[in-house]
């Protein structure tokens, strides 16, 4: 008992004050890209050729955040002439199109559907489905339940049964072998329901695009309402997206 109390004092309160107070991530973190539209075509072409995810469109000078794994190779090319990654972790989007960015993203709060806010703004129960995810998306979703993020203080919880859920949160490129279980889980969630695609895998197949063992695009199976890019998305990216989309 004494040990519990002693540890309790040592640990103190670690819960983040985000979103009431802003939070800053270490400068090496790669978030929202800052794109230089004036960059020479030669450098953009080099970046596009270098990109392992083929996420850069050199004609439009855009980056598809749904394909990008934020590896930072393009930033290293030409000393960041074309793109630099900022520490802005607010990357969630209600539309797939808006993820193809030239440096701007529409504000998620205005973009999201009003009736979701009305229905789920005060209480949101999600069922997580890992559909061939590498477990980093899953792990960084799980940490939202740790004391630092303490997700349930916002009325958001991950539940055990799809019957208790308002929607599903899907990670992974959807392997052929998980397709059925994913669809069954989706069916089991009572309507109206939301679908969240988390991580580049669920959005575009991620590192595995082109494999014939995966579906590679969740939206081609079931309609996606909210996209959370990243490989994996930072927990704050997920938290921000959930709060903006459902609460504000």
């Amino acid at each position: 008992m004494l040990k519990i109390i002693k540890n309790r004092f040592e640990q103190g309160c670690k819960t983040s004050e985000y979103p009431k107070k802003p939070i800053s991530l270490y400068r090496r973190y790669r978030g929202m890209p800052v794109i230089n539209g004036q960059c020479s075509e030669e450098i953009v072409d080099r970046c596009a050729a270098l990109c392992p995810q083929d996420a850069i469109n050199s004609e439009e000078k855009s980056i598809d955040l749904g394909r990008c794994v934020f590896c930072g190779q393009c930033e290293a090319e030409g000393d960041g002439e074309f793109v630099r990654f900022s520490t802005n972790f607010e990357l969630g989007s209600a539309s797939r199109k808006a993820l193809v960015t030239t440096g701007e993203m529409p504000d998620l709060a205005d973009h999201s559907r009003r009736h979701f806010k009305k229905l789920f703004g005060r209480s949101l129960q999600l069922r997580q489905v890992s559909a061939a995810g590498c477990n980093s998306c899953e792990a960084d979703t799980n940490v939202l339940n740790t004391p630092f993020f303490d997700l349930s203080r916002f009325g958001i919880d991950f539940v055990a049964s799809p019957r208790h859920a308002d929607g599903i949160h899907v990670t992974g490129p959807v392997s052929r072998n998980m397709k059925q279980a994913l669809l069954a889980t989706y069916e089991a969630v009572p309507s109206p329901k939301v679908v969240i695609a988390s991580g580049s895998c669920a959005i575009s197949g991620g590192p595995f695009y082109g494999s014939d063992e995966i579906v590679g695009d969740l939206n081609s199976l079931i309609p996606v309402d909210l996209y959370i890019p990243g490989c994996p998305p930072h927990p704050l990216t997920t938290l921000h997206a959930l709060l903006k989309f459902f609460k504000q």
């Binding site: 519990i4 640990q11 477990n135 740790t146 991950f158 494999s211 994996p232």
Partner: protein, 506 residues
Amino acid sequence: MDNLLRIKNGVAVLRSSIPRVDYGDFFRTLSEFVKNDGFIVQFFAYEENGQYRLVAVVRNHDLYVLQTEVGTIFKSFTGAVSEKFHMFEREIAEQYGLKPDGHPWLKMVRYHENYSGEKDVFANDYSKEIPGNYPYFAIGGESIHEVGVGPVHAGIIEPGHFRFQCAGEEVLHLEIQLGYQHRGIEKMMPKLPQKRYPIVAESIAGDTAVGHNLCLCQGIEALAGLGVDKKASIVRCIALELERIANHVGDLGALSGDVAFNPPAAYLGRIRGEFLNLLQVLCGNRFGKGLLRPGGVAHLMGEEQCLLIKEKIAEIRPEIEHVCDLLFTAHTVLARFENTGTVAYQTAKDLGLVGYAGRACGLAYDVRVAFPSECYRELGTNRNRVINGDVNSRATVRREEIMHSLTLIDTLVKMYEQDGDIPTAVRAGEHRLAPDAFVVTVNEGWRGEVSHCILTDSAGKIVRYKIKDPSFHNWTGLAMSLRNQEISDFPLCNKSFNLSYCGFDL
């Protein structure tokens, strides 16, 4: 023994130098080796010029390789020689349509069409999506009941199916069927441009991003003749140890949660995040993605990063000590940890368990000691004291490894600061790979022995990329740990192993 070619971890050899013996010799040599305290690192098939070859990489205190040519059927080792071959043979059957004749439990591993176009060994029609819907080992009898769990589980966890045969609360047998996470990685690797390799390797198992990518990078370096700066090598070791600590800390917290002792669960869950954040300090990603690239690392440490790591570790070390003390002295915890999910030393040895699961049973094997790569030759080793094979042993081994790794990181940061070299960060690029070459790399990922194996053709193109996650050995260990346990102890046993679904499924 004379047939076997001795090789070194991460050193390429010509494929022609690997002895190619007839199957009879292959069978005899491997049988003898495995029966004399030998273990399997890799055992796989590949196809070249319409012929099938089996390659075995085995270890005792050294690494050896041997190959043979087979038709579509070969004599199984599993029943006749050792259980260590069990999963490998099933994998060969599934990947190439080659049947291990006499295999006692020949069943698909992941459920996918084979690569070779041979007749399917399991007579499956893969246009039908029936993963998991195949026969399971069943026990008959009036008082026997069956419990099926998964693939979708109650929590944020990867998918897999567990089938229990129970008499009342007691589990007589557990069969674990995976494959839901299969993304076809081995099949796609040879077709990819090199720029995609590290990205894929980092996502084989996201919690072992550094471990798997390290194996890939060392393999490419061996084939392309690339050297790695000392300082880059140090950064790699720091990342591997941070990954180990983060996972061990998180799992100790989860174990605590599983026995309903909440304070350490909350504290350790939060402390795990501190280590992920240190990986983010290193490379901008909480899982170490984007850090290792063939030829070195993409991000080096400056004074700032060294200082941040040193300070954080100094701050957090006593906290971990105190919370671990709280966890391991609580009698309610010990009552649940001790004598639960025991795997006997002999069973562990027969199955060839690796990593902390093996060490908790008394198999001391640690790749960092046995086949050290990077800076590990210069670093201190660790010895585990509690080796009873139960949940408590697996938890204690992890506790000891956390403390050991913290010390390693301190040493590594000092080494980094004292080294006078000024290395450069590397970028992913295309490298010319040695033709007709073979390389195997092994590293001690946090779960145990991670191994990659690369074969190139006469043009230096990759013809076969073989990946093995430690979970490939250890899932069977989890199944054995459940024998004669109460089914309610499954979550605890499962968490004490915490194996990778996607690392197994590839």
